[in-house]
Subunit: 692 residues, 2 copies
């Protein structure tokens, strides 16, 4: 079974030799590349945030949608505070690690654990949301995909997973190109649209003629309370535009020196770009009259009053805008939409890059199985990557690739991290402020603390709004997932602490450093062959106090043959034959070793097992099955060490070079190469051997 | 992964402690029990054979069905010859093993292989056919099951598989009761029906009013050629009644002494019972006017000419007879049908009992992975049983639980075995005849040879008829499966022979018995704790030529801590720190061992790895991952023995008793309990150690 898994892994991960050359430590990158590599997460959220804002406002009909630029402005304001705060985080924690490090250092390990759990859930949702959104953009330009976005999204997750597993350098390059391409095409669209608007040439979207049917609660127009609730909902959905800004704070080490300064400047640039894109998109969306609702079939009707029906396919807002602006040059519309779709899908690769690093960080603090610490180990990283791929595919299936549903889940996790991180920074400044050396430094710190205090207030309020307004829409699932991840991490940590405590050497406890008195070597044999001969030779070479070979009488004919060969070759070790009335090997051997151990508790029993090493995984099924079982059982017997003596099948057809017995440390113990020891009587009651 | 499988296995197989007490060798049984335990296979085939005969003849309309008792008589004749022949086999091969042994001993191992392959396929089909037939009987008395026989059959295979896995004694007892119960209820039905016929009170079946539409080729009445073909087809289908008679020849060892005589007499009795049942059923079926066709929807119509339609449910013949005979006492009809259904399902358990024995026999000759030789080992037997369950469930699904289709597959395999076995016995007598001591013995042998010659002729003709008339109806699949099983067995045997050849010790080749010159002990450590201390102590106890501890610098903080603890505790072994730029453990250790080996090719490297033995399978995921990988990679490096030093977590909270160093065999090698060796400088270029 494990070997079959190995074969499958090799198929996906590449040839086995690669495993011997793990990826080297990534070299720091120039600002341009590092920024582009870390930006897609933030950029992608700006691509789908307008849809969520417009959709929330559309519940009150087109009058509501007109509010969208103002909601966008409010989100841009929060974004500015959050980005200012993360620029501070970058300067204070230039080693990277982001929210997790901030929480751990300032609020304790358990707060770090919560952030870590949230980050794990967020990485699942980053993939699920951005790939689902990407699938909708592709559906806008590839006819026939409209009603298969779920299958397309799951397929794309598979592609990104495999690409991440193989660690293609090409993927990194594509991400960089796509990030700048995205800025370029969206900028081009905004610019062209803006010019068209100024010159009065801006057309209306093809969807412009549709009417939005307001929800029942809004059909008598907007009340003050109604507007308030509406804006809150739109704000809490649009807050998803903030996701991804923390990626740069996490990946400071990706940048070239001066790392912190480069990262902070990049974050500032990214924040400006995101804010401009968000507001620009919403303004333009209003001008061209986009129509975007949660459920087109029930919420939209033609001007003549007929509902659009289930066949209607609603395009994402950026696609609607691009289609309008470039209605005269369709190929440009296709290009713009394709680049946006590509960026959304590649944004998922940020999470795949980030998860092994996150797990490594968590593993270092005992929150994850310790093998994850070695994130450069392909196989270890593969576990994280495959889990991420499967988990996000599962979420996509669960949400039917609905970006709106997934966004509800996503925001909760992100804002948990944001809030805890802001709180951590606040404590950080509180602790640092009394240590300030000059009034200027104190002034700077007080300003920084204010930024974090405002940030904490805003993100905490946003989190509260999201949890309250969206609890039944999926926030409960997010909270459950974060709690589950946290619970898992805490129990792993608890296990490691318990084990470490059990294994701790007390200063007055030197018992385990004492040597066992005698060493009894037992060679497990089943037939007389070169593998057996090697095991006997190796066991003898260790010069044990006593040595004997043991076989289990499963097949009388075979035992007789072994006995004859043993005597004929004059093997200088006693052969003991254990009886097994039920043709079983493990039981008699363990019983025999137990009696040996009972006779002398302080002694060490070394069991040498000849092992045939096969060349193909499926051949393993044909060899060593009893030995494997025996070994797994013997693990539970104290004072027994199992040594496997491998024989590499097919490795060399010629016999091994004859090794002359080298002068051993003590000549009286060195056994002659093949002393003519008289054949021992079958199974003498005591342990005997030439070295005993 | 393997541990998860283990947990699942425990769930199905029972508590893990059971593994320590494998089933003891089955005790020989008195004739009554042994016969009943081995009979269901043969009895069950008599239950469904009449259906197949009637169905084949019904192609020519009711006129054809009237021939059924004569076909039954012909089959009973063949059965008499085959049974006479197997009685001889029992006497000549009282050790059991049946057809496989006969073929192997007289026709060579490859003929045995073919019989073995056929027997494997037959065991799949025994289960598939008898459980499908059983499902149809239950459908006759449980309303609502009529159109779900496939699901019912697959579910029942699952039940029998689990029961066989757990080796319930209750199952054996149920089989014995069901076998006699079957004889009782079918006998009662025949007797009652016979009396009713004599007294003129025998009613007609409820299906009697239906008309059978003859196939196109028969609609102008019966020609001589037509009758011939019809009878051949009916004969070849009805020949399935012979299956199961070989079971007793295979299981001679189940009987109490005198085994051979008891088995031969039992077989005779069973043959008589089967022949009587077959002919009795067919006669009675004709008298009550049963109607049984391959496809009721197209082949049956009501007297008024309307087809019966797809809703019509056709009952098996024995159920139709019982329903007619006991029409006045419905509960008896229910009882009779239930007992027949139960016997059919329990007949499958014969195959489950037989498969581990068959695989053990094949494994002894190298035809199967050798672990199957230990058939009393629960885990090993479980593999065979689960494979049988899944395979037969697959066949049922493939055939839609149609007994008719499965029977076509079944007969091919059975008659391959029959024919080869008869041929083997013929050669057996040919070889024995010249050695006869007296004319009386010669006479007896010649008679026996004649029986086998007739048997060979009949079974070979039957096989040819089945293959020719049924090739496109499934015989091709049977032949393919038998060939596949044979190919698998031959390739396993070839692999073992190749390995044995490679490992064979030539008389002039004593190279592997030579001792390696020096032993270099390396203890792999990652942290200083009691498990590490134990590994160091054990490694020192083996008094190697040189000893050192090795760690890989994955986490600098951890290495520093280890270094300090090492020096503080004055561990009397040098600690070498290997650099790992990419945080990987396996590579640096292997590279280091390779350089050691290059320096002294004839030396032996013993790597001691402290292993934490966890109590729950899922905890394994948290420990020893690097060690496991290292071990699997090191298997391919020559001259390296890996010794795992287990620490049983949670086994004892108190420290191990301090062991005073016992007087060693050579005092100059015995290391003092904890010599105050000065802390070694980090990683000296040569291998050093206190024992060096």
């Amino acid at each position: 079974m494990p070997d079959l898994m190995g074969a499958l892994k090799r198929l996906v991960l590449g040839r086995p030799t690669r495993e011997f050359a793990p990826r080297t430590k990534p070299r720091p990158l120039p600002v341009r590349s590092a920024l582009a590599l870390l930006a897609p997460d933030a950029l992608s959220s700006v691509a789908y945030a307008p849809d969520e804002i417009v959709l929330a406002l559309a519940a009150a009909g087109l009058a509501g949608v007109a509010l969208s630029p103002w909601v966008g402005l409010a989100i841009a304001g929060v974004m500015a505070v959050v980005i200012a705060s993360y620029r501070q985080t970058i300067k204070e924690y230039p080693q990277g690690g982001g929210d997790y490090t901030v929480a751990k250092e300032n609020l304790g390990l358990m707060a770090g654990g919560v952030v870590g759990g949230a980050a794990m859930v967020d990485s699942l949702l980053t993939v699920a949301v951005s790939v689902s959104a990407g699938a909708h953009y592709f559906a806008a330009i590839v006819p026939g995909l409209e009603h298969h976005t779920q299958a397309v999204a799951i397929g794309l997750v598979g592609v990104v997973t495999v690409a991440s597993l193989r660690g293609l350098k090409l993927l990194d390059k594509t991400v960089i190109v796509a990030a700048y391409g995205f800025l370029g095409v969206v900028g081009l669209t905004a610019l062209t649209g803006g010019l068209q608007a100024l010159t009065g040439n801006l057309a209306a979207t093809p969807a412009h003629g549709l009417e939005v049917i307001p929800a029942a609660s809004y059909e008598h127009g907007l009340t003050v309370l109604g507007v308030g609730l509406l804006v809150l909902r739109a704000f809490s959905s649009g807050a998803v535009a903030l996701t991804g800004v923390q990626t740069i704070a996490t990946g400071v080490q990706t940048f070239r020196e001066p790392k912190a300064r480069n990262a902070a400047r990049s974050l500032g640039f990214l924040g400006l770009a995101c804010a401009a894109l968000l507001i620009g998109t919403l303004v333009l969306a209003n001008r061209v009259g986009v129509v975007f609702v949660a459920d087109p079939a029930t919420q939209l009707r033609y001007a003549n009053g007929t509902p659009v029906g289930p066949e209607y396919h609603q395009e994402p807002i950026l696609a609607q805008i691009a289609e309008t602006v470039f209605s005269a040059v369709r190929p440009v519309f296709f290009l713009v939409t394709a680049v946006i779709g590509l960026l959304l899908i590649l944004a998922a690769s940020t999470a795949f890059r980030w998860v092994p690093a996150l797990m490594s960080m968590l593993a270092q603090d005992g929150f994850m199985p310790k093998q994850f610490f070695r994130r450069s180990d392909r196989r270890v990283a593969a576990h994280g990557i495959v889990t991420l791929g499967l988990g996000s595919a599962g979420l996509i299936a669960l949400a039917g690739a609905s970006v709106t549903r997934l966004v509800q889940l996503y925001i909760v996790g992100v804002f948990i991290s944001f809030t805890i991180s802001q709180l951590g920074m606040l404590r950080h400044w509180n602790a640092r402020l009394p240590l300030a050396q000059s009034s200027r430094e104190r002034h700077r710190m007080a300003g920084a603390r204010l930024v974090n205090a405002v940030g904490l207030g805003l993100t905490a309020v946003a989190l509260a709004i999201v949890v309250v307004t969206k609890f039944t829409h999926g926030a409960w699932l997010s909270l459950g997932l974060v709690a589950g991840a946290f619970g898992f991490m805490v129990s792993v940590r608890w296990h490691y602490r318990k084990v470490a405590e059990e294994l701790r050497i007390a200063s007055d406890d030197r018992a385990d450093l004492g040597l066992p008195g005698r060493v009894h070597a037992i060679v497990l044999v089943s037939a007389m062959n070169r593998a057996t001969a090697r095991a006997v030779a190796y066991a003898r070479a260790t010069r044990p106090t006593t040595i004997e070979a043991v076989t289990v009488a499963v097949d009388m004919a075979q035992v007789g043959q072994l006995r004859r060969a043993w005597d004929e070759l004059r093997v200088p070790v006693t052969l003991r034959i254990l009886d097994s009335p039920v043709r079983e090997i493990t039981g008699p051997v363990i019983a025999y070793i137990r009696t040996l151990r009972q006779r002398a508790t302080g002694d060490l029993v070394m069991l040498y097992i000849p092992e045939k090493v096969v060349r193909h995984w499926w051949e393993r099924w044909l060899h060593n099955r009893s030995a494997d079982r025996l070994m797994s059982r013997l693990r539970h017997v104290r004072g027994v060490v199992v040594a496997t003596v491998p024989w590499q099948l097919g490795a060399a057809s010629s016999p091994a070079p004859a090794v002359p017995p080298a002068p051993a440390a003590s000549p009286d113990l060195a056994a002659p190469p093949a002393p003519p020891v008289p054949p021992a009587p079958a199974a003498p009651p005591e342990l005997t051997g030439p070295a005993g």
